[in-house]
């Protein structure tokens, strides 16, 4: 009886594992294909043989081509600049706004929270046209930010979701710690910088990761704000390559591999922050 139960359990576990493996293959297949083709010479892609198990004609030629003729290095640099500046600006602005929302009582607080949350429904796709007009002529300052890094970065900085997440994280820090600091003569900025931020390191990790993906994936805003190659991020650069007729599979896949690697590396390195952040952002409360 016990042996039978054990047997059944083992069969169940094996089936489960099989299911997991099959899904893993489905999830990995496009990545595998992308990487494999990126190493294949154009002449080596056969119409009759399944590409997946065809390891002939491998070379680094496609990567050389992507770097030399696509100028992917330039797009890559732009993406890095936009992402790094955007990320820190976004997290700084969001954390500063979240601090009083989480730790202070003041009139207008609920309105402010509701307003920040409501913007989650206003997406770039809806405001693309007025956003273009705003960016080309910033109210009061009359600045034209078209074709500048600032024009790409600033419109993406306000993100209600991040403020929402940070407010929740900050609210969980015990009040006593903060009160002790105030008694010791710490200013509000001091409390924020020396108490709240260091205590929220895991939260900041999650938020930075979200912010990173947000800027690294940016597509619509650069699409309408930038029309010079000099400032284009990878997403736009790849789209331009796509429209160039003579490009081959392989060249292209080399470019996409280059564009994907940083995000994947950061993910593998900071995986727990992704997972914790998504779960907390959606469920806590």
């Amino acid at each position: 009886m016990v042996a039978k139960l054990k047997e059944a359990k083992r069969v169940k576990a094996a089936l489960m594992f099989l299911g997991l493996a099959v899904i893993a293959v489905v999830m990995l297949l496009p990545f595998y294909w992308m990487v494999l083709v990126s190493f294949k010479q154009e002449s080596g892609i056969s119409t009759t043989r399944l590409v997946l198990f065809d390891f002939r004609h491998l070379s680094l030629e496609n990567y050389r081509y992507a770097l030399k003729y696509f100028g992917i290095g330039l797009y890559f640099k732009n993406s890095v600049v936009i992402t790094v500046i955007g990320m820190f600006l976004q997290v700084a602005v969001s954390a500063l706004a979240a601090y009083p929302l989480a730790r202070m009582k003041f009139p207008g607080k609920r309105v402010l929270i509701a307003a920040f949350l409501a913007t989650m429904m206003i997406t770039d796709e809806m405001i693309a046209i007025p956003l273009y007009l705003v960016v080309t002529n910033i109210p009061f300052l009359h600045l034209n930010l078209a074709n500048t890094y600032a024009g790409i970065i600033l419109p993406a900085v306000p993100w209600g979701f991040l403020i929402f997440m940070l407010t929740r994280f900050f609210a969980e820090i015990p009040k006593e710690i903060e009160e002790a600091a105030v008694i010791d003569g710490c200013s509000a900025l001091g409390v924020f910088g020396r108490i709240i931020l260091p205590l929220s390191k895991p939260a900041l990790g999650s938020v930075l990761v979200f912010s990173f993906l947000n800027f690294w994936d940016q597509f619509l805003i650069p699409l309408i704000i930038v029309n010079t190659r000099e400032l284009m991020p990878l997403t736009l650069g790849l789209r331009i390559m796509l429209s160039a007729e003579q490009t081959f599979y392989g060249n292209f896949m080399a470019a996409t591999v280059i564009a994907t690697l940083p995000a994947v590396i950061i993910f593998l390195y900071a995986q727990r922050y992704f997972i914790a952040g998504i779960a907390a952002g959606a469920l806590k409360g």
């Binding site: 489960m16 997991l20 899904i23 999830m27 990995l28 297949l29 990545f31 294909w33 992308m34 119409t47 399944l50 997946l52 500063l96 706004a97 009083p100 009139p107 207008g108 607080k109 402010l112 949350l117 913007t119 429904m121 206003i122 997406t123 770039d124 796709e125 809806m126 405001i127 693309a128 046209i129 007025p130 705003v134 109210p139 600033l154 900085v157 306000p158 209600g160 403020i163 690294w216 597509f219 309408i224 990878l234 790849l238 796509l242 599979y249 292209f252 896949m253 996409t256 564009a259 994907t260 995000a263 993910f267 992704f274 997972i275 998504i278 779960a279 907390a280 959606a282 469920l283 409360g285």
Partner: protein, 311 residues
């Protein structure tokens, strides 16, 4: 969710001139000083543009020219535009399938990866991989996977089982479905993580007690597990609907709305009208309609959740 988050509404009253009053003034100034950068950025890049979209939609907009108000004329024109209705229909089909099938698949995935099997963490990582990949990259890779000649991977695989090569993205019957499949693949890992967190929050003892009492798999799911993850389901669908209605990148990269507007969605049509045809007023009217659609659906979903919660 929001109620507990917003905190108690009551504020203590202080009287002008007192020390306490001065201190509270100081505190208020401080709070707004902290929020000021965010308030300015939200005002300039979120609220002002959405108001501007509404104002523009009521005007006849000629670049550099006067902008006379024309009332609801732009909206009237939108209502008589077949292409608008086609885009709305395509977007809605996309939303129903991506959110519907996506929600169920990610829930099933969450169940699978909630097992104690060796290497389960590696599986979670693999399923999550598309989420961290840029949507532009995913769209490009899948565009090539759907390559119409026998060189495309999917056609090669079909060829193995004797099915003739399909034209996928240029076939009006298959194009939208092909993009939907890609969108589900790209997103399923994200929702899985939300469900997984909800499932892991469940008390093990309750589940074990139910098993001992002889509850079937379905009873266990419907009476014990589902009520606890209901909130997660709600969050996943509400975020999913918001996200899916604005779909833009994959369409623009993979088909650009073709074949014959078979994959045209609201966002691509708005983009085309505003930035290709320079009908900014017309595009603004459609943008505002898209905003209203998402607003109404969100309010509706919040309402359903509230009713279910009350029982």
């Amino acid at each position: 969710m929001t109620r507990s988050f917003l905190g108690p509404k009551k504020m203590t009253r202080t009287f002008p001139g007192t020390k306490k009053w001065k201190r509270s003034l100081h505190r208020i100034a401080l709070a707004y000083a902290f929020s000021l950068p965010a308030i300015l950025l939200f005002a300039v890049f979120k609220f002002y543009p959405i108001i501007l979209a509404f104002v523009m939609s009521l005007q006849r907009f000629v670049p550099l020219g006067a902008r006379p108000f024309v009332g609801l004329a732009n909206y009237g024109a939108v209502m008589h535009d077949d292409l608008f209705w086609i885009s709305l229909q395509n977007t809605s089909i996309y939303v129903v399938f991506v959110v519907g099938a996506g929600t169920m698949l990610s829930l099933a995935l969450a169940y699978l990866v909630n097992q104690r099997i060796r290497g389960i963490k590696a599986f979670r990582t693999i399923y999550f991989l598309p989420v961290v990949t840029s949507l532009v990259v995913i769209s490009i890779v899948w565009k090539y996977l759907y390559y119409p000649s026998p060189r495309g991977l999917f056609n090669q695989v079909l060829g193995l089982v004797g099915i003739p090569a399909q034209t996928w993205l240029s076939d009006p019957k298959l194009a939208l479905g092909a993009i939907i499949v890609m969108a589900i693949w790209a997103r399923v890992g994200y929702d899985m993580v939300i469900y997984l967190a909800a499932l892991q929050g469940l008390e093990k003892e309750i589940l074990e007690a139910a098993s001992i009492d002889g509850a079937t798999w379905w009873q266990r799911f419907w009476h014990i597990e589902f009520p606890s993850i209901r909130f997660a389901v709600f969050i996943v669908t509400i975020l999913g609907v918001m996200r899916a209605y604005r779909v833009f990148t994959p369409i623009l990269v993979m088909t650009n709305g073709d074949p014959n507007h078979g994959t045209e969605v609201l966002a691509t049509y708005i983009y085309r009208a505003g930035f290709m045809n320079y009908q900014m007023d017309y595009a603004a009217a459609m943008s505002f309609i898209l905003f209203l659609v998402i607003l109404i659906l969100t309010v509706f979903q919040l309402d359903v959740e509230r009713r279910v919660e009350r029982g």
